[in-house]
Subunit: 338 residues, 2 copies
DNA sequence: TTGTATGCGTTATCAT
DNA sequence: ATGATAACGCATACAA
């Protein structure tokens, strides 16, 4: 292994000068710098990051905690995070938390051992009060989901507004029997979407029978969505539209409906959320809400590094990014507006 | 920040004893160890990994380079890598290479700067001769894809055998007009599948018209698959079965077929590769080859750490993991066996 | 079994 | 503009 000392000897200067050159200090004569770079080149010197990290007390690494890698929604955000980090010369430690809080805590502790300078959390449950402890001494940014009233920046779309738009759109198509499939998790997004749905229904004076709200499991799995859908489609009277909190769930509803001989959107309107790739792979193409995933990832990195680099950065800058209602094939006016 | 020295003072011992205790040295009296742990507890001491890494000349980090995060196939392997690394107390730096060799090289250089102890490469092109240079001085394991004749362990299924099985199965169903959709990339898997297909066709003395081989783009994108499928379905005579090198491509073929009013598998048999989640989300469920992705990820980690920890570990242990032919709905006997 | 002391490769302070 | 040198926090060789 070649060290800074050998480079110094080769270039005929001191280690200090080599260090300064490598860190682009303006206080080094161009001619000297050239000699140093020459020596670096010939020796094939690569600075030891561990040593630099120890000395500078930083790691140039950020954590990205995701509940899983299988949901393309997270994949796209992680891609955005990676892209931006690459540009800013940071490395991203992508961690799979499986949605377990203790797993998240173990990863977050990497900041205390100086293995990471900050963290982006993708799947915070809204009741993670323990997060406050970490947020106080470590640099954290919440993405997609967040804990309300926490002194910690966050990036997300306005889930409440987006859902209102979607339900209003269904209403506008002529639907009055609108059901909903949520998920059995503690995400703030799930809560906000549920509330927005209820508010529009109340405002429109539409009935919301108890059994028109079904829960898929925490990860929005296809199988759990099918189950929820079957229960929903057995209800009397049957809803004419089903608002789902995820695209996978919407696909599972369509699948369940087809098994019952129902056509989408002819007999049933179905809508999703997120606009992942496969919303346009199979007909009917899915009507859904598009989230700027890639941009959300990038923005999270910016917010995080702002906090790391600026002493007095905003403690809790909440960035709401714009969503988009994607009107496609799976939503249409109901056949019989009884 | 609390250091090992403060812990030593608090426990009334030397830093050496604290260090030994923390590293579970048997040479420390249990009673002393208890005192030390007590001090660690009360002070809330967390070892500084940067310092430890510098001293031990390691990082406890491994790289995982993937061409993208959006393909669920890679996601599952990455999950396996993360799981196994977690068990062995290593951190995984997941890197998105976008399939660019220079991006891969930049990430691999992190090993030279001691930011990582080894790397798992998921998307090596078979002509990456430059990889030999890295493989010589760094610890590398190739997963899924690999460069032939490279002194570097690899983990994969037997793509040649798996493809032979699939094509033989189609033959057995009664198909003789079997076409193929490959991909415009330099993966060894793509080559092996192509060769296996050709070998079976030759062996069965079946005709293989030039225009029965179409290429999707490097990432197996849905749109490129549709395009390839449309071209293929316009051929005269039309194939009765299409073997695709990826599940997404198979879905795109089904979509293109349906647009032409063709039913799958009634009018056309379609098969995929990988067995990702959505092969059973929409009917017809896909006949495909299942790969043990999760296990492949885990195995890669084991192989890598073996190389890192054992001086004389096998230089090029090639592990072939078992695949499985998943017979489902998208393949059936041809209607008219002309 | 425990303590002392040295060095890992850098960066940064203080001289010059 | 450059050099000598002291940290950074930890692990370990050697001494006791």
């Amino acid at each position: 292994m070649v060290t800074i000392e050998q480079v110094a000897r080769q270039a005929g200067v001191s280690v200090a000068t080599v260090s300064r050159t490598l860190n682009n200090s303006p206080a080094v004569r161009p001619a000297t710098a050239r000699q140093v770079r020459q020596a670096v080149e010939t020796l094939g010197y690569v600075p030891n990051q561990s040593a630099r990290n120890l000395r500078r007390n930083e790691s140039q690494v950020i954590l990205a905690l995701a509940p899983n890698f299988s949901n393309p929604y997270y994949s796209r955000i992680l891609t955005g995070i990676g892209d931006r980090a690459w540009e800013l010369e940071y490395s991203v430690l992508v961690c799979n938390t499986l949605g377990h809080a203790n797993s998240e805590r173990r990863f977050l502790k990497m900041m205390e051992s100086h293995q990471a300078d900050g963290a982006i959390l993708l799947g915070c449950h809204w009741d993670y009060s323990w997060l406050a402890r970490f947020a106080q001494r470590s640099h954290i940014v919440q993405c997609c989901e967040y804990v309300p009233d926490l002194d910690c920046p966050s990036v997300a779309i306005d889930n409440y507004a987006a859902t209102r738009e979607m339900v209003a759109y269904l209403r506008q198509l002529g639907h009055s029997r609108i059901a909903m499939i949520g998920a059995d998790n503690q995400y703030i997004s799930t809560r906000l979407r549920r509330q927005a749905y209820l508010d529009v229904m109340a405002q429109e004076a539409l009935e919301v029978p108890e059994n028109w709200y079904r829960l898929a499991d925490a990860d929005y799995s296809f199988a759990s969505g099918q189950e929820a859908a079957r229960a929903l489609l057995a209800a009397v009277p049957r809803p004419t539209a089903i608002f789902c909190v995820s695209d996978i769930l919407a696909l599972s509803v369509i699948s369940a409906a087809q098994e019952l001989g129902l056509e989408v959107p002819g007999d049933l309107t179905v809508t999703g959320f997120d606009d992942v790739d496969y919303t346009t792979m199979v007909h009917p193409y899915l009507t859904t809400v598009a989230q700027p995933c890639h941009e959300m990832g990038r923005r999270s990195v910016d917010l995080l590094l702002d906090g790391i680099q600026n002493e007095q950065a905003a403690l809790s800058a909440c960035a709401f990014l714009p969503h988009r209602l994607m009107k496609r094939e799976s939503a249409a006016p109901p056949k019989n507006t009884i």
